[in-house]
């Protein structure tokens, strides 16, 4: 009995909140808890899952990346251009990963080697990336119609949610990197005790740079799936993504200044945001109210999570 209790205690409180929301929504509408709706939910939440995993790496390292939405947008534009140029899918995926990597590396160089504060650098690069995306597309979305490419993010036979499968593979990759590689370990060192890490011979600057580059690469790969799912590379699609990714990370239990948390927890934060968004349509909240309500709920969830965490530290 005690064992079960301890297992229950390990599950974050937010999980129960997500379950409660699902129960309430399924009482409100019979169509909510159907297989079809669940597939749509998985498709919608999938890209956020990858971007939030990227944000988790950065936040564990004690940093912040407000340009993830910009990276997502810019990589998406590059991907769409590559697809329309008729390149094979492997090359398209590589281009997505590479453009994301380069954007992240740019952030990383300035933050790590020049020693500027992450939020101001990434706020600046956010402007740069959006500006480049807008200029490259002339403010109009680039349509994508390559059949093969669209299978990456579509529903195969109307049943298999490919976007979710692709993103889940990327998510597993992020978990693997976190648990089984040096980068994953060092991220905690950078966030928890970078001076101690430096004294024990870790090249902190390099690994910090790599953290931002890796997060950029994950976001670039997410952009491939996003473009394939939406069938268009929209230069305005990325706004708010970085905040939702950061919010999902924090709601998922990652702490901002003590090198604590993991990618596995982040999925709960993503689930909360996705379930909330879909449920608002189910209980018929007018669309004009939805951005405000989502914003308020996210803020309250962050306040709740942070105050719980600080209570635990005091204990």
């Amino acid at each position: 009995m005690a064992k079960i209790k301890s297992i229950f205690k390990q599950i974050p409180i937010v999980t129960w909140f997500v379950l409660l929301m699902i129960i309430v929504f399924s009482f409100c509408s019979k169509q909510y808890l159907t297989l079809r709706n669940m597939r749509i939910l998985l498709q919608q939440g999938s890209v956020l899952l990858v971007v939030a995993s990227a944000a988790t790496f950065i936040i564990i390292s004690g940093g912040l990346d407000l340009s993830l939405g910009g990276i997502l947008t810019l990589s998406g534009v590059f991907v769409a251009i590559a697809v329309n140029a008729g390149l094979p899918i492997i090359l398209v995926i590589l281009i997505g990963a590479l453009s994301g990597f380069l954007c992240g590396a740019f952030n990383g160089v300035i933050i790590s080697y020049c020693g500027l504060q992450p939020f101001i650098v990434t706020l600046g690069t956010q402007g740069i990336f959006y500006g480049c995306a807008l200029a490259a597309t002339n403010r109009v979305g680039i349509q994508v119609s390559d059949e093969k490419f669209l299978t990456l993010g579509g529903l195969i036979n109307g049943k298999i949610p490919m976007a979710f499968i692709c993103c889940f593979v990327l998510y597993l990759f992020a978990i693997f990197v976190q648990n089984r590689t040096r980068l994953g370990r060092y991220v905690y060192v950078i966030g928890g005790n970078s001076e101690g890490g430096r004294l024990s011979g870790i090249n902190i600057k390099f690994w910090k740079w790599l953290t931002y580059s890796f997060a950029g690469m994950l976001t670039g790969l997410a952009a491939v799936v996003l473009v394939s799912r939406l069938e268009v590379a929209d230069p305005l699609v990325g706004s708010k993504w970085e905040f939702e990714a950061i919010a999902a990370t924090i709601i998922g239990g990652t702490s901002m200044n003590i090198g604590k948390g993991n990618v596995i927890g982040t999925i709960i934060g993503v689930a909360l945001l996705t379930v909330l968004r879909s449920g608002m349509n189910v209980i018929r909240i007018p669309s004009i109210w939805q951005p405000a309500i989502i914003g308020i709920v996210i803020i309250m969830a962050i306040v709740f999570q942070v105050s719980i965490a600080s209570k635990e530290i005091k204990k």
Binding site: C114, I294, G295
Partner: protein, 330 residues
């Protein structure tokens, strides 16, 4: 003796470096402006530039106070928007006297600032996450209030503060801005609250040990920033004669750029309102130049982003240099 004197002179010039480098930036941009348009330095154009900078300066004063105390207030653009929307709706749809409408808007700004202060000081969320998050919620509410419409065409009396001429010479926004700058400067330099802001910003632990209630000071800084953002919103409506649910979103990057360009340190505890005024002037002159050169609007944000990063980078590099020089000379 002469060696010591030389050293002293050298130290003086090192301390002046940031100010000199900023002055150079302004001179370069002004020269560029004169090169593009010969009427750039005419009295009329200069007075227009000052008037155009007014909203940026007022937002910047609040931003400066929060950056000195704790960290940036990324919600200031959204607070400005929702207060502009509230004032506009009260005046337009409910025929409220404009003085009362402005007061209500300022109160709303103060309340939002208090929410920010609570989240940052008492809950302990970093300011750049809590204020960044709150801005999306606030923009959402502005959208709800306006239902997607645009409000325009306001009463002449109300528009006087943003558009009028006093005695036919001084533009009202310049006068209003000057008063705000003076008050902000006095607040930071001459009141206990202002001195406490610097103390909290430069070293929170020692400030709290010397008996300053750190949480109250941080909250007050954000409340003041909220009120000033609200006032900027009112001025925006009066000046532009229209308001939309995303009017303030384009102010976030320019405001931060002007604050950092004005020499307020990213890590807090350093800087002042007068520097921000200078930064805002540089930003406005630069925008003026971009308009004259007809730079496509797509590139605006990118240019601003580059500008912010370069300014902060320069600041850090110069500081490192100064530190190493000081160590060597000591």
């Amino acid at each position: 003796m002469s060696k010591a004197l030389k050293q002293n002179k050298f130290k003086l010039s090192v301390d002046m470096l940031p100010a000199i480098s900023r002055l150079c930036i302004l001179i370069v941009i002004v020269l560029l402006g004169v090169g593009i348009d010969s009427s750039f330095l005419s009295l009329r154009n200069i007075s227009n530039i000052f008037a155009n900078a007014s909203i940026l300066i007022i937002l910047g004063i609040g931003q400066t106070i929060t950056v000195i105390t704790n960290g940036p207030d990324l919600s200031s653009g959204s607070v400005m928007t929702i207060c502009a929307v509230i004032a506009a709706i009260l005046i337009k749809n409910y025929n409220v006297n404009f003085v009362i409408a402005i007061l209500i808007a300022l109160v709303v700004g103060g309340i939002i600032g208090a929410i920010n202060g609570y989240m940052i000081a008492y809950v302990g969320i970093p300011s750049f996450i809590s204020t960044y998050g709150l801005q999306w919620a606030i923009f959402g509410f502005a959208y709800v209030l306006l239902q997607g419409y645009v409000l325009y065409d306001f009463d002449e009396k109300f528009r006087f503060i943003g558009n009028g001429n006093l005695f036919g010479v001084i533009q009202m926004p310049i006068l209003v801005t000057l008063i705000c700058v003076l008050l902000g400067h006095l607040l930071l330099k001459k009141t206990t609250l202002g001195r406490k802001c610097y103390a909290v910003g430069s070293n929170r632990v020692s400030a709290s040990m010397s008996g300053i209630n750190v949480n109250t000071v941080i909250s007050m800084a954000f409340v003041i920033s909220g009120i000033l953002s609200a006032f900027a919103g009112v001025l925006f409506v009066a000046r532009m004669n229209s308001v939309q649910s995303d009017s303030g979103s384009s102010y976030l990057l320019p405001v931060l750029a002007s604050v950092y360009m004005g020499g307020t340190s990213v890590s807090g505890g350093e800087g002042g309102v007068l520097g921000t005024v200078f930064g805002a002037m540089v930003m406005t002159v630069a925008t003026n130049c971009m308009n004259l050169l007809s730079v496509p609007s797509e590139w605006r944000d990118a240019i601003l982003g580059v500008l912010i990063i370069i300014t902060v980078l320069l600041d850090v590099v110069v500081k490192k240099r100064m530190q190493s020089i000081k160590i060597v000379s000591a």
